[in-house]
């Protein structure tokens, strides 16, 4: 049999129908749903009298619009946000899908809830009307974002019409240096390939530095595959993956577990499998990084300086000029001289327990800079509860951070957690686009430890100096 990649294998196991031109009908094992990209899809079902084909494989949770303040039981002030969350409540009930309402301790960011509850398992196809569905690739699941029309298509048919992408391998060799995290890996890869470098590909991340990552670190890496333009990111499952899944509420049990693990052990790229593109980075060459511009590809080691637009070529010259103007930065300025006024720790990229531990380790016994607004938004109610149990919440609060309830929050600022005009944030989220965290707000993407360091000093900081 022809040597196949991990992507080839998962794809082959999900083809329902293949047309002569290669267009496939692909079966979807898990459909995750949130309130922003689903109302029009459910409405479409109502208008055509269609049902949800597999409600038992459909999991809904509100996350984008939900308030993260401690008084959220009082309801949502913004009328449009409230209508959207109410619509999901109603749609979940009417169509009988699994649902974690705002009041449920298991509620959180959909990409944190899915793995946490054991919905996401190796070898599955997972989709959601959200680009950061790529996160679930960390389990060796083929996971990607879809638009609302496709959400409706999956609800009605449990399938998607797809053409296969090409295979790309991103290998991170060797060991990471102290202070370097999964976030630094994934940003450095985007820095190397550009935000369109992965377009048309599914990426498989591999190599010693990836193997050495925990499941949570792997989720951080795959989460940002979309920022590199790839349809999905994948990491072959191994013992760490099985250990993570075992015992979770919706993971298989008993004989089914044994059968599942036996299948999962076949999920790796065969020796000699063909990759259309290969990128290799040395783990020891990766430094703690920070973004300076308005695209995730605008990334540099924290020890560097703001680049000159003229150092780029093509359309990037104008884009870099625009970015420096928007960000209020000058070419040649040292990145560590950039003063910040806001710190956000959270999001589907970095809102898991290990992220909070990494930030708390830097913050322990310290105070944030005077005047700094700093908030921690755990990725789920369960992450929040665990952090409280471990004493992390106390470390954050004593340092001067706000300790919030779970949601997407300031990653995309659809709820009241926003930057004001001109505010500058060190953020553990995934996008530094213009206006992303608030109108004319300025975002520097960093790891949780780097965000914590910046909160203490008041400027972008090399976390290695604080370890």
């Amino acid at each position: 049999m022809k040597a196949r990649t991990l992507y080839d294998k998962i794809w082959d196991d999900h083809v329902v129908h293949q047309a002569e031109d290669g267009t496939c009908l692909l079966y979807i094992d898990r459909h995750l749903v949130h309130e922003v990209t689903s109302p029009q899809a459910f409405e479409g079902l109502r208008m055509t009298g269609r049902k949800v084909r597999a409600p038992e494989k459909t999991i809904a949770v509100p996350d984008h619009n939900v308030p993260t303040t401690l008084d959220r039981a009082k309801g949502i002030d913004n009328e449009e946000s409230r209508i959207q969350v109410d619509a999901l409540d109603k749609n979940a009930k009417d169509f009988g899908v699994h649902y974690y309402p705002v009041s449920d301790v298991r509620q959180g960011i959909v990409h944190i809830v899915g793995p946490e509850q054991g919905w996401t398992l190796p070898g599955m196809t997972v989709v959601c009307g959200d680009s950061h569905t790529a996160t679930h690739g960390a389990f060796g699941a083929l996971a990607h974002g879809i638009g609302t029309s496709e959400v409706e298509h999956v609800l009605a048919t449990q399938t998607l019409i797809q053409k296969k992408s090409k295979n790309m391998k991103v290998e991170i060799t060797g060991k990471l240096r102290p202070g370097v995290t999964a976030k630094d890996i994934t940003l450095s890869v985007i820095g190397a390939t550009g935000t369109a470098g992965g377009t048309g590909y599914v990426i498989e991340y591999c190599g010693e530095a990836i193997r050495d990552l925990s499941m949570e670190g792997r989720m951080t890496v795959c989460n940002m595959a979309i920022e590199g333009g790839a349809r999905a990111g994948l990491i072959a499952p191994d013992e760490k993956t099985y250990d993570y899944c075992k015992g979770r509420p919706h993971a298989p049990k008993g004989a089914a577990w044994e059968a599942a693990v036996a299948y999962w052990k076949t999920l790796f790229s065969d020796e000699g499998a063909h990759f259309d593109k290969v990128i290799t980075l040395k783990g020891e060459d990766i430094a703690p990084v920070v973004t300076w511009g308005t695209s995730p590809e605008d990334v540099l080691p924290i020890t560097a300086s703001v680049p000159a637009p003229e150092s780029f070529s093509g359309g990037k010259v104008e884009a870099a000029k625009r970015a420096l103007d928007y960000m209020g930065l000058t070419a040649g300025q040292k990145l560590t001289d950039i003063q910040i006024d806001t710190v956000f720790i959270g999001s589907c990229t970095n809102g898991r327990i290990e992220d909070l531990r990494a930030a708390a380790a830097i913050l322990k016994g310290k105070k944030i800079k005077d005047g700094m607004r700093a908030m921690v938004v755990p990725g789920s109610g369960l992450v929040r509860a665990q952090a409280e149990e471990e004493g992390l919440a106390d470390i954050f609060k004593e340092a001067g951070f706000e300790w919030r309830l779970a949601g997407c929050s300031m990653c995309l600022a659809m709820n009241p957690d926003q930057l004001a005009e001109g505010e500058r944030c060190a953020s553990t989220s995934n996008r530094n686009f213009e206006g992303r965290q608030g109108y004319k707000g300025r975002t520097h993407l960093v790891s949780p430890a780097m965000a914590a360091a910046a909160a203490i000093t008041g400027h972008l900081t090399d976390v290695r100096e604080m370890m």
Binding site: Q40, R50, S131, I146, T195, I226, L412
Partner: protein, 201 residues
């Protein structure tokens, strides 16, 4: 969905690279539970100041481009989020086609579901069409989906590739959910087989 055959119209030049979905339709407009009415907020933060006044320099505010049906854009148009609100806003404004060297994957797929044709052409061709678009309202381009061509105002013709199935759906305005439901028997038999092979799913 409206059928797409040919479009002859004004093309607006947007040479900026990496125009992301947050630029196309900022998140404050994602709170709608409808698909319609987003055209007025297309490119909102680039198009209006904080008081809601038009920014005269923005291309779609210029008299020549207010009725544009085509956008010629820099690399990697539509990167970022999966929000279908981006093509909904473009379609509601009246945009029928976007031409660039590359598109983000999810945005590209979303366009076809909404009667918009995203056209990928090599850099040299996009450069020529960008210059053509910069000429203003008198320079009308013609896009012919059947023939898979873009014709610049001076008659230069550029051929483009498009997936045959996507082309078929767009030309006939087909609802692909209906098409897939015709394959219900295949889905049934897949589920039966997968249920045996991977019962834990």
């Amino acid at each position: 969905m409206e059928k797409f055959t040919t479009v002859t119209g004004i093309a607006a030049p947007m040479p900026l690279v990496n125009i992301d979905t947050d630029m196309i339709i900022p998140k404050v407009f994602l709170k709608t539970i409808k698909r319609s009415g987003l055209g007025v907020n297309l490119f909102d933060e680039m198009r209006y100041d904080r008081q809601g006044n038009e920014i005269p320099d923005f291309v779609l505010n210029k008299p020549a481009y207010r009725d544009a049906q085509i956008i010629v854009a820099g690399d990697n148009f539509g990167c970022g989020s999966s929000r279908e609100h981006a093509p909904w806003a473009l379609a509601d404004f009246g945009i029928k086609s976007v031409i660039s060297t590359s598109f983000a994957d999810i945005f590209y797929n979303n366009c076809f579901k909404n009667g918009i044709l995203p056209i990928i052409l090599p850099q040299e061709a996009v450069d020529v069409l960008m210059k053509d678009a910069e000429k203003g309202a008198n320079a009308r381009m013609e896009i012919n989906l059947e023939a898979q061509t873009v014709t610049a105002s001076d008659g230069q013709v550029f051929a483009f590739e498009v997936d045959a199935f996507k082309k078929h759906c767009l030309m006939n305005g087909l609802d692909d959910i209906g098409l897939t439901m015709e394959k219900a028997a295949s889905i049934d038999s897949y589920e039966a087989k997968a249920g045996t092979l991977r019962p834990w799913v």
